[in-house]
Amino acid sequence: MKTTRLALGLGLGLVAGFAAVSPVGAQESINFVHNTYRTGAFSGSGIPVADGVRDYFTMLNNRDGGIGGVRINFEECETQYDTRRSVECWEQAKAKNSVVYVPWSTGAALATIPRAHIDKMPIFSMAYGLSAAAVGSTFPWVFNPPLTYWDGASVWIQYIAQREGGLANLRGKTIGLILLDAPFGREPIPVLEALAREHGFTLKTYPIPPAEMQNQSSTWLAIRRDRTDWVLVQGWGAMNPTAVREAGRTGFPRDKVIGIWWAGGDDDARPAGPDARGYLALSWHQVGTNFPVIQDIIRHVVDRGQSNTAREKIGENLYNRGVYQGILIAEAIRNAQRLTGKRVVTGEDVRRGFEVLNISAARWTELGAPDFAAPVALTCADHNGHHAAFVIQWDGTKWNRASDWIRPDRARIRPMLEEAARAYATSNAGWPARSETCDQPS
């Protein structure tokens, strides 16, 4: 008996496995398979982001009937921040003709970038992933706006200079960088080192191994001992709330701790309680619900009970980042429809749509998000844009904007990125020269 049941189970499994690839019913719709991590060690950051994107596309479907009259068939693919599963999700996205692939992890981006031009599916990795992908002439299929980690480093130093009263006052200062001991964490080091030589400040790095993310007391003692003036945090996941809490515990002034944009979640600051007051982070979009687009999401999605996020968490920083990503992707789909004249567009069309992406301040207002973020424009050569960012500050209960827009030092960053892109192309023998034609932005 046991064996028959085993055989039956195996048979069913096989049937299910093969059935998984049968194409879905072809109603007029645009498919979008989006990577998420609602489980695993990074789910704390993954859930609000996923809900933001999901709610934005649900809102478009409910309010406008999709984009250009075509419904967006939004699907999630769970990755657990695991590269193997992310590659599986790439295959799933390909099988379902997703118009874009959103890796949401650096490992997934690196593993799939070589496949993008073959499977004709563009990759959209928003301010993470391979920084060199900003060079559109080498990576026509990859887009990483609005800015790279290297730009982030430049914005950090400019902000510190503003607070210190000019770049000249940085001389003799000590700036510490707490980083996740992984490629992501070490990204800003080359730029910070170059800036340290130029402006005469000392850079000290404090790497945190991934297994020790929640144990930083010795690191913060070292920060006290080194008499560090400013601390930068390049972290993700459980490392961020720990850093904020330790800063409070050792009495390091919180308004001199600045996180990268991935260290700016509400749940990064909130667990530290009153100790977190004053903590800073970079961002490139506003928080809160005072935007018509967020109000539309509340009206058309949340009030209908179609959102996974609680009403009071709408408008938090990472949720709005998901909305921001949704707006950019939707705009690229719109561009693709306009360029091709088709209603149902493909991944190839959306790639062209990204290359002419141009959201001006007026366009942000039209999209229901006035002053939500800086204007974003991409070109065929520049898939990143190196757009401006600003600093936000935690007041104990929510984030508030704490600086003006700060533009990264494009003249310094761009040659470094082009060099990195060249190195990628030469080390990957057989990397194709760009053959995709370039559309003129209208």
Partner: protein, 359 residues
């Protein structure tokens, strides 16, 4: 009725020692090989090949490797993913330093680098056992993972800290890199698995395998019988790490096509492979295949198979079910059936042998 050895006489010691003593088994293995080599590449879709077959083939070697160490020699190891990483990074360094050499040679050679590292970390196994050895190999895992991140020479000073698989061809056919056909990759991986399984199967059935099992069952008794413990245990570590290294090289070069330093070969993967060994069956070759197949296929079938046949299940819930099923099954099998799925297979074969007369 059909699966019976009546009339098949063994007249030599060789035939008595054969891996497949039954004619039906030999025919069966040929049919499976024919299916794997011809039917699967022709019939299966890219999705099946890429998300189930390639990771299965890459991981099955690591499962065999750990099974040699844990199942046959009784030495528990939590450093499997680290040794896989050594293979992957060795292969990457070798093929970027000597791009003109056939990549298939380097995949195999990278196993030897892994074997060398495995022997070094296997040295404490002479003195410590059980949980303490697990902790020592855990140290290997953490050290190796640290090295992959901290030694930029290993990833050729790539600013993104990742290893990217370049295009490599053999006789003009692309084998690695993004343009290689999925069927070619599948056949390459399959050939590695078939050949290395055949080798492993012969090792564990021969003198070396017997000495490993003697050490596993009681090392003092094995020593009294003249088995040198140090050499035997280190050999087990070397062979095991060799398989893990080849598995890691295949995992990155044939399956993933690129890896971020330090995240792919984490402790999580070590545990998954250990679970595959336990679920498949400790000390069994066929069990390694069952275990790897189960671990690789279960999440994919739950996540994509169930929605495709109309059972609505979200990816997040599927992942949680996978964790629960694998956890429960590991505990259940450890207590009730240490020989895992392989034992079920054996029972099925035994039943089939006497069918339709059960007595």
């Amino acid at each position: 009725m059909f699966y019976r050895e009546a009339g098949q006489y063994k007249t030599t010691y060789q035939s008595d020692m054969a891996i497949f003593p039954l004619r039906q088994d030999r025919i069966g293995i040929l049919i499976i090989l024919a299916l794997a080599y011809v039917a699967v590449p022709l019939m299966a879709s890219d999705f099946i090949l890429k998300t189930i077959m390639l990771p299965f083939l890459a991981l099955v070697l690591a499962v065999i490797g750990l099974n040699i160490l844990t199942g046959y020699t009784g030495l528990i190891s939590l450093g499997t993913a680290g040794f896989m990483g050594v293979g992957a990074y060795a292969c990457y360094k070798l093929t970027t330093l000597f791009p003109e050499v056939n990549i298939l040679v380097w995949i195999l050679v990278s196993g030897f680098f892994s074997a060398g590292i495995g022997v070094v970390f296997g040295l404490p196994s002479l003195r410590i056992k059980g949980l303490y050895l697990a902790v020592a190999t855990l140290a290997a895992q953490f050290f190796l993972q640290w090295a992959f991140v901290r030694i930029p020479w290993l990833y050729n000073y790539n600013p993104s800290g990742a290893i990217e698989v370049p295009l490599r061809t053999v006789f003009g056919v692309a084998i690695t890199g993004p343009t290689a056909a999925i069927e070619v990759k599948y056949l390459i991986a399959l050939t590695f698995v078939v050949v290395l399984t055949w080798v492993a199967s012969n090792i564990v059935h021969g003198r070396i395998g017997r000495s490993w099992m003697a050490v596993r069952d009681m090392d003092i008794a094995a020593q009294l019988m003249g088995i040198k413990l140090l050499e035997t245990k280190l050999l087990a570590f070397a062979v095991s790490s060799f398989y893990c290294g080849v598995s890691g090289a295949l995992f990155v070069f044939i399956y993933l096509g690129g890896a971020e330093a330090g995240t792919e070969f984490g402790i999580r993967l070590s545990f998954i492979i250990l679970f595959a060994v336990i679920i498949g069956g400790l000390g069994s070759m066929i069990g390694s295949f069952f275990g790897a197949g189960f671990i690789v296929a279960l999440p994919t079938i739950l996540k994509f198979g169930l929605p495709a046949i109309g059972i609505a299940i979200t990816g997040a819930i599927a992942e949680k079910i996978v964790v629960m099923v694998i956890g429960a099954l590991t505990i259940y099998l450890l207590i009730v059936e240490p020989h895992g799925l392989a034992r079920l297979w054996q029972i099925a074969k035994q039943k089939l042998r006497v069918w339709p007369f059960p007595y």
